[in-house]
Amino acid sequence: MYQQHVPITRSQQVAQNVHILEFQSEAIAAEAIPGQFLNIRPSRFYDPFLRRAYSIHRVMGDRLEIIYNVVGKGSALFAEAKVGETLDILGPLGTPFHLEGEFRRAVLVSGGVGIAPMPFLGDWLLKQGKQVANIYGARTAAMIADDGRLHNARYATDDGSLDFHGNVVGLLQQFLAEEGADGLRVFACGPNKMLMALGDFCQLRGIPLEVSLECQMACGIGICQGCPVEMATGDRKYTLVCTHGPNYDYNHIRLESIPAVH
């Protein structure tokens, strides 16, 4: 874990309301594992005040990328940031995706900007000799951020403007009908409603599902205790998304305990 002021090396809009920031940090890039996140200070002034947590999207040598929607004051400032300026970054943070255990094939299911942790995860799994497929859903084709680097991708759009007309659960069902569920593990990130629908789907079929959660945080390192999610197992009521998460076996948590993000 480092707190560093790192130079921005690329800032680019890649789809409708979807932006990428790339920056350089040898130390953070070397330590990062898929599913981990960075907590980035949006301003050196006090408004916006708290850091913003973003999954590590890609790691290329000493460069890291985050991907984000512009939704408020903090993300608007990131979108205005220029190459050469520096960002105050804390990371890598959080418990990575759980990659141990038996599986030959991984399906990475993303909803909207839930694509965030998937390219890094896909690259990592391919290096481990796993088969990787991406299922990536968005409201419409213009919101899909894929520059061709996404491995073995299928798309689902609510309006049918690209590939599958429907949601990612429908597309996963189609995928399974074609490819079967043998030796499969699903990794998912997206709106909680999507994760819950996916959770029901996978539970019914006995497919292991690991979810990467998004929630509001302050510190990102376990000292404020501001980001609890209820546990479905074990003797503690809550787990902290920043340190025990953000990646969980779907059956270990109660997603409905997280209030809807406005």
């Binding site: 874990m1 480092y2 707190q3 200070r41 006090y46 408004d47 916006p48 005040f49 708290l50 850091r51 105050d88 804390l90 929630c215 509001q216 945080m217 302050a218 510190c219 390192i221 376990g222 000292i223 404020c224 205790q225 501001g226 980001c227 609890p228 999610v229 209820e230 503690r236 009521k237 809550y238 340190t243 305990s257 997280i258 209030p259 406005h262």
Partner: protein, 314 residues
Amino acid sequence: MTELQIRNARFKNPVLTASGTFGYGLECPDLFDVSQLGGVVTKSISRKPRDGNPPQRIAETSSGGMLNSIGLANVGVDVFLDQKLPALLQRKATVIVNIAASSVEEYCYVLERCEEHEGIAGYEINVSCPNVKDGGLSFGTNCPAVANITRELRGRTDRFLSMKLTPNVASIGEFARACEAEGADAVSCVNTFIGMDIDVGTRRPKIATITGGYSGPAILPMALAKVYEVRKAVKIPIIGIGGIMTAEDAIKFLVVGASLVQLGTVLFVDPMAATTIPKGIEEYMQRNGFRHLTDLIGSLDVTMQPSLVAAGWS
């Protein structure tokens, strides 16, 4: 130059981490060495483990601050003493145990359990948590109750004892006087201000408990005024807390009369502040010819402007 002793507690420098803002002091070992802090004030410890409040527990406010309603989530005194304390002591931290309770008996129980253990530098008593019904604020806004808790705990320890006061009272000086009279070594001023925010889209509160504790740079002037009020009310040392983001902010509390300060919300935004602020204070002292911290503490100059004196202000 910046070391200080209060009763039998020695502080390497005047900068401590505030309770509830630095976990158990063990969460970010990579970032800095806790032995270099003036002290670590632990998360509030209660007799039994507490789960804390449901989400949403935190919200950023547009005014340079944040609301929290954590609800005293903690591991309980047994796990604290068995696991957290030894690890903190191994890292050579100066440990101040913060205690929260819902009865006088519980405060005494937790303190007595801690008394069985070596190495604790002292206690800070949370009589001011705004976020749980039984978490102390009912004591903290009742002066005889604060006096009683202070007296009971003073009778049970020779270690450093500071009472952490709420700013959500009409006269904080009165509470500080009660603590002084009952033998407290210091008062910690202040806990969070009660605050509230809502989302106008949903018209719902931003945190689950509707109101919560308001902290961050936005509260510094209010906290400083409370420390000034307490300084005029008592002779015992004050630990200044409230919105410190920089060394300059910390110096303001020292000048007004705090002997020590605590960093809280800043640690969520800039954890390295715990090392840069003590350095900044030392540099300020060197630049301005202060040879020891005690020369800086309470050096506030309130010489009246002649025009104000003429207008009847004094």
